[in-house]
Amino acid sequence: MKENNLTILSKVLLVIVGLLFIGSLFVPMWRIELDAPQYPEGLMLQLHANKIGGDVDIINGLNHYIGMATLHTENFFEFTILPYVFGTFAFISLILVFINNRKAVFGFLITFVLFVILSGIDFYRWNYEYGHNLDPNAAIKVPGMAYQPPLIGYKQLLNFGAYSIPDIGGWMLTGAGILLFVVVLKEFKFKKSI
């Protein structure tokens, strides 16, 4: 048995990771919940791998008061590539079972972590862009006010409370990351101890 081979448990975990990646394509990844006195039922913006969902039309309608640009799926190149990225990740996770090499798994984990960091930066960049690039002719102008939603967590924006958290898909990706990490941890610790 070669030193770099994976245990059966790791292979099973890799299959689960692959399924989580595939699953995340069909459910929203991220959500921004908004509530205000006149929206007691709350408004929600949901980011899927391939589109913006939720109450987009209502939120776009409200954006014009402060001069924020309206949101449209077609304005984000991310939605055209993300499905392929996750598809590829799923494919890699399954292929790794056959490659059967713990170093390759480690390499994939590093790639995934880098992807997550890049995505975070990209998300922040968009939030900044939408929150700061306001129409100078907007009806409501509050000196010094920007409407950038939080990257993660809660922030009050005028009358709206904005709460930005992962949605089901996001939690599935998180789970995939954790499982990958567990596989790497197990493999390297276990092999060393032999």
Partner: protein, 661 residues
């Protein structure tokens, strides 16, 4: 001597003052204990029940929450409503069409919630129009009038819109005997006995859509049909109607229609009537009546005039209708939840007769008749009577049930509600009302499954109950707790119009029935909809101008229109682009001759306007919609007739120089 006389006078005056000051107080502080707590619904909390209350001479229906008595909405049905544009917008005008043209008002008396298996199902509520005989169906997903059907051969429509236990039929009995539309009506009034007839309509209701269809009418002797209720359970298949003026008087009815000791409750075997209709015993008669339906996808009403109706001569059939003698000028006709007991309320009687369905069937089987009335068998009073409630009060009108074996009857003359046991006929309790109570309502109280927690009494007179408002005082309802042995007054609350009958149902049943929050703009098939600002336009067709306009927070598109001329006939077809709950917009134009419009999210509505003066005419949103609501407005330039100002329209840009002349 003189002194003694003065003293004597003084003694008499003081004595009588003392005596009169001791007379029992009326009304006063009738509410005691924790009543306030029991009707208090904290801010943000919902009421337990919806209460749908007839609007009387307002022609509308109002909706209240119980136990708080807070008014939630007025639903326009038979009367034009300038607040919402009902009956003023082009789309809603057909809903108020009749065989004699546009009739924009009525006198709305009774309401009936649809039922399945004898239980309230929360889908629709039916309403009668007492003056121009009509029945309406209000859709409770939208709280909007969905259908109005006119009734031929009828004059006054009082004993309606009562329903059978699966909403198979809505019935409507004519209040006034008159010659049928298919007979010569140009007859001397004093030939009432020969020439006047009564017709009762059976309107079939589609199980799924609720759509109504005038299925058949029964031709009956000319009497006044007053109120009715369907049998239920064992008496399903029968309908009961009270009749007064069995004297067939045609003048000074207050005397001449009160001569006989007993009038009747008429029992109708409608299943038998169906059989006769199937066997071809009915006759198609010429008439004219309007059938108006609302389409939720085109947001438009359509009025169709129909010209015939199927009439079955019940007097010739002998085994469809039977008369039960009922003392004296009976009014309410109420069937208990088991379907066994039929309570008649003789307005002028000093007792309440309660009839037994089993005894009635028995008597019919044995042909236990005391004679006939214009061909309709009259059963013997004692053969059909379960018993009489003795000395209940004065002027019994209406009875509802709590589902625990008790009946509650209102007394108009003695202004009280009396609780009695249906089986033993013993009076159990009585409470005063303020004043001259008519109908009463227990949620589900005329169904198989009453929710016997509250009772609401609807009063005709409210002297001393509220702050005075000139000669006319508010109309009123009163809420009683009937969950214990003793009824307890909890609350007075004002109502619109004159409340007659009402219905109530648990709040969850109505609000979880698939309530609509918005109209889906993708399903908006109005022929002149503009589904986005890009689709807005102004089109001239001769002297008609069609404006395809949209509204969204916080502007109209277009908001500058030029080239309109005096004498034009302008139609504003306005679509509310919002897809957000509770964001209607309003539309009004300076000196609009009709009303404003109130347009729901995703809905299209049309206002007709005929400019008569040259000048600039502003229009604006009438429903405070956003922080920039005051800015939601626009201008129309009206030029003289024959002017050559070109038709133009815009939003966000000023018009080209060519139009600045």
């Amino acid at each position: 001597m003189k002194n003694k006389f003065v003293k004597a006078i003084l003694v008499i005056v003081l004595g009588s003052a003392l005596f009169t000051s001791c007379k029992p107080k009326n009304s006063g502080d009738a509410v005691s204990g924790d009543a306030a707590q029991r009707v208090y619904v904290a801010p943000g909390k919902y009421d337990e029940f919806y209460n749908f209350v007839s609007g009387g001479f307002s022609g509308q229906m109002s909706v209240y929450g119980l136990p708080s008595g807070r008014m939630l909405k007025v639903v326009p049905i038979f009367s034009q409503d300038p607040e919402s544009g009902w009956g003023f917008s082009e789309e809603t005008k057909p809903m108020l069409n009749t065989s004699e043209g546009f009739i924009p008002w009525d006198d709305q008396h009774h309401l009936e919630l649809s039922q399945t298996n004898g239980e309230v199902d929360g889908r629709w509520i039916f309403a009668n129009a007492n003056n121009t005989p009509r029945i309406a169906r209000v859709d409770l997903k939208r709280f909007k009038t969905a259908e109005i059907i006119e009734l031929p051969n009828s004059a006054g429509n009082h004993s309606s819109p009562f329903i059978t236990e699966n909403t198979e039929y809505v019935v409507a009995g004519t209040r006034f005997g008159v010659p049928g539309d298919y007979e010569n009506g140009d007859v001397p009034i004093n030939t009432y006995k020969e020439n006047f007839k009564g017709h009762i309509s059976f309107i079939k209701v589609d199980k799924e859509s609720g759509k109504m269809d005038l299925s058949f009418q029964l031709r009956l002797p000319g009497v006044n049909f007053d109120l009715s209720h369907a049998g239920k359970g064992k008496s399903h298949g029968w309908f009961f109607f009270t009749c007064y003026n069995s004297e067939q008087a045609n003048t000074l009815l207050e005397v001449n229609a009160s001569q006989r000791d007993k009038d009747f409750i008429m029992a109708v075997n409608w299943k038998k009537a169906e059989e006769y209709i199937k066997a071809g015993k009915g006759k198609i008669e010429k008439t004219k009546y309007a059938h108006n339906t609302w389409n939720d996808e085109t947001h438009t009403g359509t009025s169709v005039i129909k010209d015939e109706v199927l009439v079955l001569d019940a007097m010739a059939m002998k085994d469809i209708c039977y008369l039960m003698p009922c003392p004296k000028s009976p009014h309410g006709c109420d069937v208990d939840p088991t379907g066994e007991y039929i309570v008649g309320s003789g307005k002028l009687a000093a007792l309440i007769p309660v009839f037994s369905f089993d005894k009635m069937i028995n008597a019919i089987g044995k042909k236990d008749y005391e004679g006939d009335y214009e061909g309709i068998p009259v059963l013997k009073y004692n053969s059909v009577l379960h018993g009489e409630v003795q000395k209940p009060g004065l002027g019994p009108l209406h009875t509802e049930f709590d589902g625990k074996g008790n009946a509650y009857t209102t007394f108009f003359v003695s202004s009280e509600v009396v609780k009695w046991d249906i089986k033993t006929l013993k009076v159990l309790d009585r409470v005063p009302t303020y004043y001259s109570v008519g109908h009463l309502c227990i949620p589900g109280g005329d169904s198989k499954k009453p929710f016997g927690k509250y009772l609401i009494a609807y009063n005709k007179i409210t002297k001393d109950r509220y702050l005075p408002t000139g000669p006319e005082l508010t109309q009123s309802a009163q809420l009683y707790d009937i969950s214990g042995d003793k009824m307890q007054l909890l609350l007075d609350f004002p109502t619109i119009g004159e409340p007659h009958y009402a219905q109530a149902a648990p709040a969850d049943l109505i609000r979880n029935n698939g309530q609509l929050k918005i109209y889906d703009i993708k399903k908006n098939n109005h022929p002149r909809v503009a589904k986005g600002e890009k689709e807005t336009k102004v089109v001239r067709e001769g002297n008609k101008v069609h404006v395809y306009m949209t509204m969204v927070r916080s502007h109209f598109s277009p908001d500058n229109i030029e080239g309109i001329k005096v004498g034009d006939d302008v139609y504003f077809h306005i679509t509310n682009l919002e897809q957000d709950w509770d964001v209607p917009h309003g539309f009004s134009i300076r000196r609009a001759q009709t009303a404003e419009l109130l347009i729901m999210p995703g809905e299209t509505s049309t206002l007709n306007w005929k400019p008569t003066k040259v000048g600039i005419v502003p229009f604006y949103c009438t429903d405070f919609c956003s922080a920039l609501h005051q800015e939601m407005s626009g201008y129309i330039r009206v030029s003289p007739a024959g002017s050559n100002v070109p038709l133009s329209y815009s939003l966000g840009t000023n018009l080209p120089a060519s139009s600045t002349k």
